[in-house]
């Protein structure tokens, strides 16, 4: 019983990490309608920034949140402004190649600058386990989980109740009609893309407590994030959070019952079967795959 409960808790907490990565991805897709294949590399960049802050300024990963969030917002805004914006009306395959190109360039740049070694931040706060009723928690994971839920809720409220949020939703539905209603399309896209990458910066700061930075760390997490976002219905916030929990649970249970080296196979298979039955994802409203 307590094993099941432990696996459940592990799965949900892991889901928290996945959720916070996926929220940014789904925001970018939802608003700009671009699948950002470089999302994982932004996470990797964020993790290196956190590591550098710890190394040279002696900052705890949590303390470096403002710095990393700002830097990643800037990077995302730059990418939208200079690479995505000129390609907004280009063919789909051109947009895919553009973000794949950024991903490849960033990954290899990290390899050039930092080498293939793993870079671990030594943080005491956030790594200590504690247990309640025989179930072990890791404080950092719990914090990540709580932050993910809070951020998702805040973003949801922002999309519902502010002008910018409504503009984002309008853009998601029809770019031209939104422009005719006076929405500054390009500025909003830059903002949305920047927010998406800033969120992955936040994820990086939270996760560096548990995970080391290395050049391919992004691809490791982002494939999972893609699975989550597609499962949850591209562009759907609640979908991303629920999808993240779902994949976290599969990860935890499959890792125990099937074998740690096959857990990814399990959720990729779940992903492929759902994609082939319902191409718009579990919670998509039907417009996701268009």
């Amino acid at each position: 019983m307590s094993l099941l409960l432990q696996l459940l808790v592990n799965g949900l907490l892991l889901g928290g990490s996945y959720a916070i990565i996926s929220i940014g991805l789904t925001l970018i897709f939802g608003v700009v309608r671009i699948v950002n294949f470089a999302h994982g590399e932004f996470l990797m960049v964020g993790m290196y920034v956190v590591w550098l802050c710890a190394q040279h300024l002696g900052l705890h990963p949590y303390a470096s949140i403002p710095i990393v969030v700002l830097i990643l917002f800037g990077l995302g805004a730059l990418m939208q402004r200079n690479i995505i914006q000129p390609l907004l009306s280009a063919d789909g395959h051109i947009q895919i190649f553009a973000t794949v190109g950024v991903s490849t360039a960033l990954l290899n740049l990290a390899l050039i600058l930092f080498g293939a070694d793993i870079r671990k931040v030594d943080a005491s706060f956030g790594t200590q386990p504690f247990s309640i009723g025989g179930i072990t928690f890791v404080s950092g994971q719990l914090i990540t989980f709580v932050v993910a839920i809070v951020v998702a809720t805040a973003l949801h409220l922002f999309l519902r109740h502010t002008y910018t949020g409504r503009a984002f939703r309008a853009l998601a539905q029809n770019r031209v009609a939104a422009a005719l209603m006076g929405v500054n399309v390009n500025a909003m896209y830059v903002l949305a893309f920047g927010m998406g990458t800033a969120l992955v910066g936040l994820a990086a700061a939270l996760m560096t407590v548990q995970y080391p930075a290395f050049p391919t760390v992004g691809s490791y997490f982002v494939l999972t994030a893609f699975v989550i976002v597609v499962l949850g219905g591209m562009g759907s916030l609640p979908g991303a959070v629920i999808g993240a929990m779902f994949i976290g649970l599969i990860d935890s249970f499959a890792g125990y019952y099937v074998g740690p080296d096959l857990k990814e196979v399990v959720y990729f298979l779940v992903f492929l079967s759902i994609l082939s039955i319902r191409p718009t994802g579990l919670f998509g409203l039907g417009q996701g795959s268009e």
Binding site: P86, H93, A98, I112
Partner: protein, 594 residues
Amino acid sequence: MTKLLQPRTYVSLLALLALVLIPLAIQSAFVFHLAIQVCVFASLALAWNIVGGFTGQLSLGHAVFYGIGSYTAGLLVAQFGITPWLGMFAGAAISMLTALVIAYPTMRLRGPFFSLATIAFLEVARLLIIHEESWTGGSAGLNVPLQIGLPWMIFREKSAYLFVAFGFLVFTLFISWMIRRARFGFYLIAVRERVDAARAVGVNAANAKMMAAVISAALTSLIGSFHGMYLTFLEPSSAFSLEMSIQIAMFALIGGIGTVAGPVIGTVLVLPVAELARGWLSAFGNGTHGFVYGLLLVVVVLFFPRGIVGHLGLRVLKLIDQLPSWPLAIQKAAAPQNPNIHYAPKGMPILRAVNIEKRFGGLKATENVSITLHAGEILGIIGPNGAGKTTIFNQLSGFIRPDKGKVEVLDMNGVWVSPTSPELFARAGIGRTFQIVQPFAGMSVLENIMLGAYLHTKHRADAEAIAREVAELTDLTQLLDSEARSLTIGGMKRLEVARALATRPRILLLDEVLAGLNPSDVVRAIAMIRRIRDSGVSVLMIEHLMQATMALSDRIVVIDLGRVLREGAPIDVVNDIEVIQAYLGKGYTHAESS
């Protein structure tokens, strides 16, 4: 043989031969290695291009087939001593099966979703290879036994590898060129550009995509087997890598996606530069060539999205065409006749909808509609906007299946059939146009019409002859060589009709072919529709242009609110009070009586 004396042919052959001759002249191990890599990657890019270019499905998991090919051949040598010359076919067979398994569920996915799904399959394959350590060697990799000699595809001399690699390149290039020229290639591009228009001329889109996936997988796998033997060491992290999948696709993009020469040109230009950069910049660490690839990719999509062939191809071809050439004898074939077509005697029913009904949610778009088209007549369907005319049309051509009732066609053999898909409707002898024109913009007018003509022939010459004959009937002969995108709206509408006519239909469904035309084009179009009817084709047309409908139609059916309101001779129908009310509202009659 005279073809060899054409500048385009001999220039490409010479350029291709240079890939072998230059390394043989220089005799350096590094240049041999470069040339072998170029041949291998150019072949991979060509194979990828069949799916990624011709079909337009951006696979980023193509390394899966490369991996299967190299591992199957490698394991068969290592475990059973089976020569890779056989092993590569075993690998190709497994790859083809895998391609079917991948293509079937992912076929419906678009753009990035398709790419993601292919990446997911690649990951699954890689993880399974690592997991099955006992016989695959796991993540540590697999050494190919070093038995030297032709039977084992392992050579002492680099030049021998180069000959084999060059053979693979010529083979893939030939297959790719054949596909592009054949009916199959036409169909792939048609499915990529406009799947509806393709289905309306009888193309089975799903089959075409699956076929492309299978061919591409087999080729990729064969090349993978050879490359595995060349490297003599296989490991899952490089054989099944996303990085390699991206690289292959990138070479095709840089050269020009969807062209035959593009993937080769892209590889020849980029791969040596990146390999050299790897040497020169090695002081900066491992990722240099990957970084160069990434930057290059971004620069190319921003500034040369159509690739080298797309941007420079025409200019280079013009230069090449100025080289000396020996004239080719041009043969003109007559359009093949099909004597077996059963034309129903005039006045007999040839197409009938029986009590068809279609709902969209709560909306009854078609309610209990019965329409019969007789052989040799022109039947006009009119009705106010939103009456449900196009929905009826889509049911008559298989694009929408009715919820109730049935649509029956008298087929070529004089048997009543109920086809179940657009392509089967086309095969049963129904041609249709689309209200919003669907030209294949990048193809010439001739090629657009040929697409329809391919329904009844496999041969290019026959299709071309049929297309020329149809062009005569539709006033397009002067425009055959221009690109479809350069036509006026009148020309595009006639092209729609021509493409439908090229399928040799016995029934032609015309959806507002007169709308938006200028007066002189309307006159031409009316004459054209008459000529079509006189050639033995029965016509059913939706039209808003009242005078034209009145002049052309033998009978008229009025549709309102999804139902048949009136049916009869043109003159009776237009004077009918209910018809006038449907168009102008009840107020009109009050206004007239007051």
